[in-house]
């Protein structure tokens, strides 16, 4: 018995060297340093504005410099870019078709550089070329050219700024847009309210109505040069449509009661609004082609300020059916109405973001008015600005910036402001008179 086991051990010992060799190999492999490699996870970045150099576009007259200035101002106002002072530039660009000396631009920490040229064609049109270079990767990111009538040079500048913004941030720009708003002039007790339109930077202002009738809540069509608004033209508030290109105005529907707070559906085919009947207000849609109306809510309360989600499947609106004004969401056919706002105070003027991820609103609480955002399910409420009177948010087409109007306490009148979704970068938009009820246009086409 003993000998048997001993001989078995001996047999095993025959495999011994192989086993030992295996073990040694494994040990050695474990001890050998792996191929030298450092692997690091980076999950934080720097959200400072991106330093960018916008050089004066080469031109025979002043227009090249003016275009550069508009581009620079657009980028700076977005708060995502920090255009570098041209006095710091080392290289003077003389030929925009030649790659810049990148090292000269890296020295002043420009992460991107914009160069361009403006020339006049034989037929009098303006030819604008530009290139966007990445100074660190030393490569061209965009190169485009545009032809236009000389008076449209500002639009070309905005389009270029949009292209730069989109290429460097990954989001669509919003510079080539316009804002329609109510311009207010005259004494406080006798205000003259005119519908006005301007570029998003405040330039090219013009008036759309004479100011004889009170106008309120203008809204842009998502796909046409068309505005819907409320006016007291015939003594009673009614919803109108205004063609911006022709100046033609028409009444939306002919209802017995007053109609207010109109807004377009995302496809531009319908207008959604409130219709007052016997002290109550309900939400209706009207098809602009067939002129047929559909009733969406049926309450004894006041339902108003409807706004479609960008894909058109849901509608957010305000209602005082619970005692105070609160926000509600329903399906586009009026079904499945549910309350989404539960904070202190009352909520009004909801607007669905063009991105679809947020709803902007006015909140009244503790004697103050705030502009805030929340998710469509009511979660994640965030207040962007609070004051004596802030109201009427409207989204930039890329869903990053909100414009609203602010009425100071005491004398004075309302002014237009814009604020970034992050709650930073609040800026006043200069208008010749007081301004209220802004509505941002979609990107022009």
């Amino acid at each position: 018995m003993f000998y048997e086991s001993l001989s078995r051990m001996k047999q095993r010992a025959g495999n011994g060297p192989a086993i030992v060799l295996c073990a040694l190999t494994i040990m050695l492999a474990a001890m050998m340093p792996a191929r030298a490699l450092v692997e690091i996870d980076i999950n934080k970045g720097n959200v400072e504005p991106l330093p960018i150099a916008v050089t004066d576009f080469i031109s025979n007259d002043d227009i090249g410099r003016q275009i550069s200035e508009v581009i620079s101002a657009d980028l700076r106002r977005s708060s995502l870019f920090a255009p570098i002072d041209p006095n710091a530039f080392i290289q003077k660009i003389t030929n925009p078709d030649v790659a810049p000396r990148f090292e000269d631009w890296r020295v002043i920490n420009a992460q991107a550089i914009v160069v361009g040229r403006v020339t006049r064609e034989a037929d009098g049109r303006l030819k604008t070329e530009f290139r966007l270079w990445d100074t660190f990767a030393a490569q061209q990111l965009i190169g485009q050219q545009f032809f236009t009538q000389p008076e449209n040079w500002r639009r070309v500048a905005h389009i270029i700024a949009d292209a730069i913004y989109q290429r460097l941030t990954g989001e669509r720009g919003y510079f080539d847009t316009r804002v329609v708003f109510v311009s207010e002039s005259g004494p406080r007790n006798d205000r003259r309210k005119q519908l006005a339109i301007m570029d998003q930077d405040g330039a090219n202002l013009r008036f759309l109505t004479q100011g004889d009738d009170l106008v309120l809540t203008p809204r842009f069509s998502p796909n046409r040069q068309e505005v819907t608004y409320m006016s007291f033209a015939n003594g009673e508030p009614r919803v109108y449509l205004l063609q911006l290109e022709t100046g033609q105005r028409e009444l939306v529907g002919n209802f017995p009661g007053m109609t207010f707070s109109p807004r377009f559906s995302p496809d531009g085919q319908k207008v959604i609004m409130s219709l007052e009947q016997g002290g109550n207000a309900n939400i209706y849609t009207m098809d602009l082609r067939s002129r047929s109306t559909t009733r969406l809510t049926n309450t004894t309360a006041i339902d108003t300020s409807p706004s479609y989600s960008p894909e058109g499947r849901q509608i957010v609106f305000e209602s005082d059916r619970g005692g105070r004004q609160q926000l509600y969401v329903m399906n586009a056919d009026g079904s499945d109405q549910k309350r989404i706002s539960f904070g202190d105070g009352s909520y009004s003027t909801p607007v669905w973001s063009p991105r679809g991820d947020l709803i902007a609103f006015t909140k009244q609480s503790g004697g103050k008015f705030s502009i805030g955002v929340m998710r469509p399910d009511g979660s994640g409420e965030r207040i962007l600005t609070t004051g004596f009177h802030n109201e009427g948010p409207t989204w930039a087409p890329n869903g990053r910036v909100i414009m609203f109007f602010r009425q100071p306490a005491g004398a004075g009148g309302p002014q237009l402001y814009s604020i970034d979704l992050t709650g930073y970068n609040e800026q006043r938009i200069d208008t010749p008179n007081f301004g209220s009820d802004p509505a941002w246009s979609p990107l022009l086409e």
Binding site: K44, N46, A99, F146, G170, T422
Partner: protein, 331 residues
């Protein structure tokens, strides 16, 4: 007594039996499910660096040179060499060649440095970016130019072809290897010049010994820094590198569609801490636009962060660096 013993035994047995059956085994000691606490062991290799060789020997800058091997004697030369004196051996010629070659190497070494690269502006022609071709028309209505929306059908101009876009790569590079400096020739000539040893070689008909590299005159170090520096970067070095890259990485807060994007950058660093060639950027997840934008921002970040200042003695460790960018926490 016997009865007492018996009763005692029985009682004890009963008690033990009862205990065994009735008393349940004690509850096992509950150990709370504690999550393992990650502990970083900071290498203190630089402090506790062990000396190699004799412990009490003073440290030398230069490690012990590899001992040279005495070469085998070479066969007698049968032909007359280039020398004015017949040396009967190719030994000296060989030695001269070797020296010349070495001199070329040392002389040409700086040529690989960026300094002598000609200015890119020297040849302007190849740098010319392609002219855009497609035109974009922005028309406005003649009557009311302000009212009418001019439609700048923004037709993107032809993008430059990749090879043309890669402008800096087209920098003309010198074709020919730079000539070695004159002093090398002088040195070589000096080597082949006549010297007294050769007369001795003529007179002394002994076989010459073979050539070979001269022995190092460096005294072998018995105590020096061990070359086995800890083969990893310390926590603080890694942290410094991470923070540096973070500060260089500029991106837009709240960017839509970027939460799911993950980017990996692989880069080879040279000893000065600069990236060799281009960093390799791979992006996954998210939308196309977000991937492209973030890839660009990451590429800019790593290039902007150059040079990476890391301990040179650990170059073997950081010659290859992989950075995993995860922007999800930024949005």
């Amino acid at each position: 007594m016997k009865i007492g013993l018996f009763i005692s035994t029985v009682l004890h047995a009963v008690l033990l039996g009862w205990g065994l059956i009735v008393l349940s085994p004690p509850k096992s000691h509950d150990v709370a499910d504690v999550e393992a606490l990650p502990v970083d062991i900071i290498p203190v290799s630089s402090i506790t660096q062990v000396q190699r060789g004799v412990k009490d020997e003073p440290e030398r800058e230069i490690a012990a040179p590899t001992p040279t091997v005495r070469p085998e004697p070479v066969e007698d030369a049968q032909t007359i060499g280039n020398n004015t004196v017949d040396l009967k051996s190719a030994d000296t010629e060989k030695r001269a060649d070797l020296t010349v070659e070495k001199a070329i190497e040392t002389a040409s070494a700086p040529a690989s440095e960026p300094a002598p690269v000609p200015e890119p502006k020297a040849d302007v022609e190849p740098v010319e970016a392609p002219k855009p071709q497609a035109a974009t028309e922005i028309a406005s209505l003649p009557d009311k130019p302000q009212e009418v929306s001019p439609r700048p059908v923004e037709e993107p101009v032809e993008q430059p072809k990749p090879e043309e876009a890669a402008l800096p790569e087209r920098i003309p590079t010198p074709k020919a290897r730079p000539e070695p400096p004159k002093r090398t020739e002088v040195a070589a000539r000096q080597q082949s010049d006549f010297d007294a040893d050769k007369i001795e070689a003529l007179l002394n008909r002994q076989d010459t010994a073979g050539g070979g590299a001269a022995r190092s005159r460096e005294q072998a170090s018995l105590g020096s820094d061990t070359q086995q520096v800890a083969q990893t970067l310390s926590i603080s070095e890694i942290d410094a590198l991470r923070r540096k890259v973070e500060s260089c990485w500029q991106l837009v807060a709240g960017m839509s569609g970027a939460e799911d994007v993950r980017i990996q950058v692989r880069m080879n660093l040279n000893q000065s801490g600069y990236i060799d060639g281009q960093p390799q950027v791979d992006a996954r997840g998210g939308t196309d636009t977000a991937r492209r934008t973030l890839s660009d921002s990451v590429r800019r970040a790593v290039l902007r962060c150059e040079p990476y200042e890391l301990p040179i003695e650990k170059y073997g460790v950081w010659s290859n660096v992989v950075l995993n960018f995860d922007p999800s926490q930024m949005f």
